[in-house]
Symmetry: C2
Subunit: 318 residues, 2 copies
């Protein structure tokens, strides 16, 4: 089977590419080829199958990005929360016109492919005490979330029409991301663990009792791979899933940090950042995982395991 | 105040234009001018203020369609249900790119205008026994509904950003529409009353106990005018309203027909039309009007009054 990844140079795109390269198969079928697409040519992992790497604008998607014979598209290309808030046109172009371009590319294929799309917790703005279920309406409080929710509707309709077979994962905040603090409003969520584990200071713009819905990079990658090959027939018209993420408070995260590396939590400085707080305060933190579990998405591991996964990964990649 | 109407040549656009022309004011303020825009140049009503009539493609909206100084935009231009189902590109272009073009036109104005947008009962696909509330999620079962729900998200986000001030009305099936049966899947809803009242036969593709959510043209026009001038500050992030429509069965409609014109119901022929039934069977018929009433939308009159309104209108316009 041939797999194409938009946003293939991004954090999750590269993780999925490396997993496919290492395993050589997906859902029991051998992978025959992989196409990675991003704004810059994505790095190519060593793989037992050909890997193409293509650069371009997702809103003007070149045909080679989703070539004839593609069986699975992971549509991960996106402009993230703070960037979409700062640049309306850019967010609309990538997050909406990019999704239209993926729909049109799929219509040119002989067989409708599975399309795995990443939506986000940021598409909700329920009160933070509410438990989000499969039927909860998305009332986004940021442009990124609004564009993701609109793209979900477009992909669900394209599925109903038989153009493609979409499975949308509304990802929790992925934590611990590698690298440095970035423009995402959720950047601090990884930073308050990552920087202290690396012996550096981090800034915390919310209170210790602030509640978050998170998933480790490994767990998010597992869910994406499951979404690539699962039986989608039970989904009906509703092609979106809230996966079984981890609900934690900042205080619990700092306790897990301290348990993994005594003294590290003292590197976390409380700061006031009302703009960040205004965005993340609208993201719900409690979800009912029943539908995701019934569709075969694995429950998340513990917070200690999430911290341990990062420490092991840091050691493995010098 | 200056008012602009996209879809100004359509049924509701023309009704709103004639009401504004007849009344000369809106929400207590005098109307200084009206711009009507549609794919063909809309008819111009006689009015105590200048009326411009412009033809064009809503996806490539000319600046003159929403000129500098516009205070209120009624964005009614749309490709309807059966047509959007038959032509995916056309539906996407008008229903989505047209909405983006309206957003961009509003951003060029010095002051963010009120934008009144018409979404639809077709954006829902809840089970027919369910009561739709303000928090019910839209899971559309047709491209028209999906495009309308996505456009609602885009307009709500544009409101939050301060580009405009949107009020979306999710209109019930408007009944009794004048004219002839058309491509809308809901065409029969008007036809089973209109044709027999005019002494002609009509086709009924659903059972007598089939339940519908409807609104008369006069009531829909009243709601649109209320949406133009109401205080929207109580709406918060949720810019969409399910107005207080009328829930009726086909049997009740035929009884009202028979009461207004004895013998007319015998002109209604039962036919099998599985494609029509498949679309309309996904539209819910029961709604909780609490939020709409709290926002000042008037409750709907009786079914007998709806039939009487049509008969009076037919007499008034020879």
């Amino acid at each position: 089977m041939h797999i194409a990844i938009t946003g293939g140079g991004g954090f999750l795109g590269q993780r999925v590419a490396r997993r496919l390269a290492a395993e050589g198969h997906l859902g029991g079928r051998p992978v025959s080829g992989l196409t990675l697409f991003d704004i810059d040519r994505p790095p190519v992992p060593e793989a037992p199958f050909p890997v193409a790497s293509i650069a371009g604008d997702v809103a003007e998607l070149p045909e080679a990005a989703i070539p004839p014979g593609t069986d699975v598209v992971l549509h991960l290309a996106a402009v993230v929360s703070a960037a979409a808030e700062a640049d309306y046109e850019l967010g609309r172009r990538v997050n909406l016109r990019g999704t239209d371009a993926v729909v049109d590319a799929c219509r040119r294929l002989a067989r409708p492919p599975r399309v795995v799309f990443t939506s986000s917790v940021a598409s909700f703005s329920a009160s933070r005490s509410e438990i989000i279920g499969a039927a909860t309406r998305q009332v986004p409080a940021n442009s990124y979330g609004a564009q993701k929710a609109a793209a979900e509707l477009i992909l669900a309709d394209a599925t109903r029409r038989g153009f493609l077979d979409a499975v949308t994962l509304r990802l929790p905040t992925v934590c611990i991301r590698p690298g440095r603090p970035n423009k995402a409003a959720s950047s601090f969520v990884s930073s308050i663990l990552r920087e202290p584990l690396n012996g550096e200071a981090a800034e915390l713009p919310v209170a210790d009792n602030f509640c978050l819905w998170i998933a480790s990079p490994a767990q998010a990658t597992d869910w994406l791979l499951h979404a690539c090959s699962m039986d989608s027939s039970a989904m009906g018209l509703d092609r979106s899933v809230n996966p079984p993420g981890l609900t934690v408070t900042v205080g619990e995260m700092l306790a897990a940090l301290e348990a993994a590396k005594p003294g590290a939590a003292t590197l976390v400085r409380r700061v006031a950042a009302p703009q960040i707080e205004a965005i993340v305060a609208t993201w719900p933190a409690r979800f009912d995982p029943a539908r995701a579990l019934s569709l075969g998405f694995a429950p998340h591991g513990t917070l200690d395991a999430l911290v341990g996964e990062f420490i092991a990964g840091t050691r493995a990649v010098p």
